[in-house]
């Protein structure tokens, strides 16, 4: 009896041990299979699961990075943020700026074999502009009055007023060209893009196969791209180090950890994003411009860059510095020179010599937002403002953002591809994303005039003036524009840029 029990005990122990050794022997096999045949599939770690692939309906970044490989837009941006041809091989803007003629590439086919023509372009834009679609790109094309098909490869956009941001907006993935008659694009994704949708396994991966008929014969350079869903950063780090994935976005902290590790390279670029402290200009005491100015003097933006972003970010104004053609040098803003004494004095002049109590709303989902709020909390304390931080779950955060009833709020914006988006959409009186109740007729006039000014030099001057005005009025404090990091395996030729991941992925090759 005793022996049987002991035997049973050792059996169970050996089971456990064999379980461990089963894991231990695996690396050799995996190494072989990886070297055995030439690698043609690129594996990209995806932090979030895509939530559908209709380019006119889904703006989530997790979806865009996939569908922007399946669909094409009329134009696109290169790594220097210049507008370059895509489905449109060239375009003409009438001298009055009210007519834009797009000349399409010839011989472009959708993945189902049908030709892409001017009719499809007209259909796509009308779908975007139809209120029932619920496209967020509708606001990009509010100046469009009519779309005319001149011939199968020529389409004419008639605008209500000159719109200098129009061509830049056609570069957006939200303005992808879809086949005429498409109704439900959640079911099947048929575009003209460099990749075709092969398989999507919920919770696991999305597999895209090369489109052999892509109009640019030299691209893409890999046979397939697999977006592997890995929600945990620790898992992504382990996967990139062991070579299970080829490309992964990583945080600045993880980038530091991976630096110099064999097999992995760290690449970064200056992003189009910036963090901000939003101020509700309707709420007391923030309705007093002096209070807002005092806060602007009290907040040390460089400290935020050092603590939150470990120095890997740059100062920013209302337009992220990566938009080099439009962004004004932050050195020109007087309030960016932190001055606590001056801030206290201004607060006293505004009638708050002893400061006041308030709240900062922030999203718990994003550690950088929470840290930013904490740094600001400390900095405001120095001038007597006691701020309580509310860490909100993302859905709740969006709800608060929409309510237009917050006090202070830390957030992140993405500068659009054209200055108009950063300026008008976020801060004009009627701007959809102006949740700060900011209303300045002089500002509205400036950005409206800039929109309709076709001369680029003249336009830049107007935006410079508008940026200076916005920073002085301070409905938002613009804080820092971070770098984005990618960990890339040594054998992968991938160079990320502000033009977006898709732009780089199309050109990526495996060495």
């Amino acid at each position: 009896m005793k022996k049987r029990v002991l035997a049973g005990f050792f059996l169970s122990l050996s089971l456990v041990l064999s379980a461990c050794s089963g894991g231990g022997t695996a690396p050799a096999e995996q190494g072989k299979s990886a070297e055995g045949q030439a690698k043609t599939e690129l594996i990209v770690a995806a932090e979030q699961e895509p939530v559908g692939y209709d380019p006119h309906k889904v703006p989530a970044a997790s979806s865009v990075r996939v569908y922007a490989l399946i669909y094409d837009s009329l134009t696109k941006l290169d790594e220097n943020m210049n507008i370059i041809p895509n489905l449109a091989e060239k375009w003409e803007i009438a001298p009055d700026g009210k007519t834009v003629t797009m000349f399409l590439q010839k011989g472009v086919k959708f993945h189902n074999g049908k030709d892409m023509t001017a009719e499809d372009v007209k259909f796509s834009f009308e779908r975007i502009m139809n209120p029932d679609t619920g496209s967020i790109a509708k606001s990009y094309f509010s100046s469009v009055e009519a779309i005319e098909v001149k011939d199968p490869t020529t389409v004419v956009f008639k605008l209500k007023n000159a719109d200098a941001s129009f061509v830049a907006n056609t570069a957006s993935a939200y303005a992808s060209i879809v086949p005429t008659g498409s109704t439900d694009l959640t079911k099947e994704a048929i575009g003209t893009g460099p990749f075709k949708m092969e398989k999507s396994e919920s919770g696991q991966y999305v597999l895209l196969k090369k489109n052999a008929d892509y109009f640019n014969k030299e691209l893409p350079k890999v046979e397939s791209i697999k977006f592997q869903i890995m929600k945990d950063e620790a898992e992504r780090l382990a996967a990139i180090r062991s070579g299970k994935v080829d490309i992964s976005m990583v945080s600045a902290d993880s980038a530091k950890l991976l630096e110099g590790k064999p097999g992995v390279q760290i690449k970064n670029y200056q992003s189009l994003e910036y963090s901000y402290l939003g101020i509700n200009v309707n709420k007391k005491p923030f309705d007093n411009p002096k209070v807002r100015e005092a806060i602007s003097y009290a907040v040390d933006r460089n400290q935020i860059i050092q603590t939150v972003w470990k120095g890997e970010a740059t100062l920013t104004g209302p337009i992220a510095p990566a938009l080099t053609n439009s962004a004004l040098d932050p050195a020109t803003y007087p309030t960016y020179k932190t001055d606590v004494e001056k801030a206290k004095q201004m607060l006293a002049e505004a009638g708050y010599p002893n400061g006041f109590e308030t709240q900062i709303e922030t999203a718990a989902t994003y550690p950088d937002m929470v840290e930013t709020a904490q740094v600001i909390q400390q900095q405001l304390k120095a001038i007597g403002i006691n701020a309580k931080i509310n860490q909100l779950e993302w859905g709740n955060y969006i709800e608060t953002w929409k309510s237009k009833d917050m006090n202070l709020m830390v957030g992140r914006n993405t500068s659009g591809v054209d200055a108009d988006r950063s300026m008008r959409f976020f801060f004009s009186t009627t701007g959809s994303a102006n949740v700060w109740n900011y209303s300045n007729p002089a500002y509205d006039e400036l950005v409206q005039k800039a929109l309709t000014t076709v001369d680029q030099g003249e336009r830049k001057k107007l935006y410079d003036e508008a940026q200076t005005m916005l920073v002085a009025d301070a409905p938002n404090l613009f804080l820092a524009s971070p770098k984005n990091y990618y960990a890339v395996r040594d054998n992968i030729d991938f160079t990320p840029s502000a033009a977006g991941e898709v732009y780089s992925l199309i050109k990526t090759s495996i060495k």
Binding site: V16, A26, P131, D132, K138, S139, G203, A234, S242
Partner: protein, 313 residues
């Protein structure tokens, strides 16, 4: 017994109905709606309205509930508001994955826990006992995300081994599935083992003090005959209870383990649904988990009667 079973199964109806109302209400009370979350801070009010309308979320709440529950009663769980994917096949597919993970994890846990728990009880206060008790304390107090992260990083950095990233089922490819599940199941198993080991030890200590054990000893039975033949069965009620509870919870999806190892299980599905305010996904998922939980409990109650014939329903 028969009437007991009928009664228990019948009691499922009010339970599940209550849960359906509860989850629906809570979910709709939580701030945020799918359209706003989908559109984020890029949203325009008209885009949000159009999207909510297309998802049927502009209807009064009571209509939305009735629409959903009638669907459920007909076996139609509806589609995800974001991806338009059928929910029931997803739930079943993901439940199968969660089930494999749970069974594997629990097996590892038991194989570790029961022999060592017994050993630690019959050698109470010996060195073995101390080692076992330290292990259980660690297993209970170290959170499973820490254990999982350590395992994942440890294996990938020191053994250069990373589990296969695509999940396969055991019945398709047992070896590959073993590789997929071994680390997450071990993570789960350590936590399971700690709880079961503790319970085994205390249950055995208690049983070993009972009169019938003394009698068995007096009859001259060997120590191991007493442990296996007499004490084991009499100690197993609390062990089975805690094991049943654990299985019930784990089948609902061990969210953290699934998230950490990218195992597309049921817990992850529901969690993602909550983040995205994908109402039908969360409602259907929670209802399903509740059903499983109640059924597992029923099964445990039935096992009691087999372990201890004195228990009658």
């Amino acid at each position: 017994m028969g009437s007991y079973l009928i009664k228990r199964v019948a009691s499922l109806i009010p339970i599940l109905f209550g849960i359906s109302v509860l989850i629906f209400t809570i979910l709709h009370l939580v701030p945020g709606d799918p359209a706003s979350i989908m559109l984020g801070t890029n949203a325009t009010p008209e885009a949000i309205a159009a999207l909510n309308k297309s998802m049927g979320l502009d209807q009064p709440l009571i209509n939305q509930y009735l629409h959903w529950i009638t669907g459920i009663l007909q076996g139609n769980f509806g589609v995800s508001v974001h991806t338009g994917e059928e929910i029931l096949p997803q739930i079943l597919k993901r439940f199968a994955i969660t089930m494999q993970l749970t069974v594997f994890g629990v097996l590892i846990g038991w194989v570790l826990a029961i022999p060592f728990g017994i050993l630690s009880a019959i050698r109470a206060h010996s060195k073995t006992d101390i080692v076992v008790r330290v292990f259980t304390l660690l297993g209970i107090s170290v959170p499973n995300f820490a254990i999982g992260t350590l395992l994942l990083l440890g294996f990938s950095l020191y053994f250069n081994w990373f589990p296969p990233i695509d999940v396969v089922n055991f019945w398709e490819d047992p070896i590959e599935a073993f590789k997929v599940f071994i680390l997450p199941a071990t993570t789960m198993g350590i936590v399971v083992a700690a709880g079961v080991m503790r319970m085994t030890r205390s249950a055995f200590l208690e049983t070993m003090d009972k009169d019938f054990i003394r009698t068995a000893r007096a009859k001259g039975n060997s120590k191991w005959t007493i442990v296996i033949g007499h004490a084991f069965r009499n100690s197993s009620i609390p062990i089975v209870t805690i094991a049943g509870m654990q299985i019930g919870y784990l089948l609902g999806g061990s969210v953290i383990v699934e998230q950490l190892f990218s195992i597309p299980g049921l817990g992850q599905y529901i969690l993602e649904g909550i983040y995205q305010r994908d109402y039908p996904v969360v409602q259907g998922g929670v209802l399903f988990v509740a059903l499983v939980f109640v059924l597992v409990n029923l099964l445990i109650d039935l096992i009691y009667t087999w372990i201890d014939p004195r228990i009658k329903y």
